[in-house]
Amino acid sequence: MYEKNGEKYFVVDSHMHYWDASPENWVPGAEQYAKGWIECFHAYQSLGPAETHWSIEHFQKYSEADLMKDLFEDGHVDVAIAQPTYLKEWYTEGFNTTERNGQLLRNHPDKFRLNTRFDPRDGEAGMREFERNVEEWKPLGAKLYTAEWNGDSRGFKLSDPECYKFLERAQELGIRNIHIHKGPTIWPLDKDAFDVSDVDKAATTFQGLNFIVEHVGLPRIEDFCFMATQEPNVYAGLSVVLGGLMHARPRFFAKVMGELLFWVGEDKMTFGSDYAIWEPRWQVEGLVDWDYPEGHDYDDYPRLGVDGKKKILGLNAAKLYDIPVPAELQLSADTPAAQDDAELVNREVAQA
């Protein structure tokens, strides 16, 4: 929970990781990829405030105690949703598996929600593994990487028939939220893996599932926006948007937020720190303090008031994951700030 100016914000970090990228976990013969991967992540961290930068050694492997402190003691986070990233071709025990995240859930059941994953190209064996994970961990969500290589395959689409089988099964098993990585490439790719039309098709077909597009389709934010505006069950996952832009390029950050607020709206945007790339603390505090910079470039974007920030920081994700929110942290029925903003926007529209 974060409190500022008398307002209390319930914080759900809906996209974070608990990885082991230390040299001991590098697959022999694939060291350059394992090393290159974590160094690439580490470079992203440099886009945050200098005082939050870590040494590469610490960044490769941080402890559970580090994580608990960074998120819950210092980072204002109430509940975190742990997302898996396997990368077993490079990391012997995996980079960040369901099981590894499971340690967090076992030790702190009230602090975490655990997501699992599937890869439709793994066929029947993959389906059995997915079912086992769902049975063991009872997740409400899964994280998918469509750009990931697998054997001879150079990626898959959510709209592939094999993937539909998994999505159907996921729905039957009680999965509700599909987080899909559409952003900076996670794997060597040679095709247009940023294309989001597959999300569009799947979201139309599977009305019982929500699709949270992590990193909002970078480098194709606009294609994502044009799609999300038409699909009620598509959300914008703000990981990387906040971490990569809010501090380093505040004016561009403001424009991206303006675009997302215009096309997608504050009811369908979710905060994710992308920890351990970035710590949540400065992101939460920065978003609460955030407003558009001076200048006409931002005039016709929707404003973001206190209520909108509460939704983005936690209330939207709490709904998606059935996370109980204390009464005093819910939106109050009377919301003068939002009304002021609405009037402001109306005035601007009238003037335009």
Binding site: W37, C40, D190, K191, P219, A248, F252
Partner: protein, 249 residues
Amino acid sequence: MTVLSDTRVLGSNSNDAAAASSLGTTARVWEALRAVRDPELDTDVVSLDFVASVEVSEHGVAHVSLRLPTYFCAPNFAFLMVADAHDVVSAADGVSRADVVLIDHFASDAINAGVAARAGFVSSMAGTEVGEAVAELDELRRTFTERALMAGTDLVVRPLMREGVTPEQVAAMTLGEAPASDDLRRLRARRRELGIPSEDTDPLVVDPTGRTVGVDALPLHLRKARSYQVGVDANTSICRGQLAARYGV
């Protein structure tokens, strides 16, 4: 800053004329590289600081090193940039042979060998450790050039509307009637690349297929154009930040 590696040329060479000529060629190679763009960012590789070094030998062999913000930048875009650089450097005056390499990238070896052999993307990646490719890159390039056209439309039209030009006037405006600017020149270039007419008498606002945009469709078209421009800006700032962190530039 990028490093001009001219020490060899300026050093022990006995032929001053050859040295001077190499220097001139070096400058021309840098200039030629400005025609090579990162398709995703719609910015040239010199402005982006992706050119690590240029060195021209006394025999006119141009050695160019390119670098990217991360070890895992998409190999398809990387291949396009290295291949384009090879083409423009080869064509520069005074260059007898171009030797363009990508450094510090997971697919450096495959890409460099493929470009040197003037092979396509698919055969360059075939059988390599980093994996095989499924398609050539013409379609990808076109997709991103179309996006550049949309983003460029925002850069040209937004200032006009801010000065009070009405949607009706914008919809009826020709390229020749729009005020000259770098953004307009770039927009025309992207249109030419897409095969869309770009003479003075051609309409200012067209969609990526070249169709004119009527006044009714204009507000949404411009709203989308702006979103494209914001996307390009956001990507560019992340890439620049990554490059700075990686190379201390």
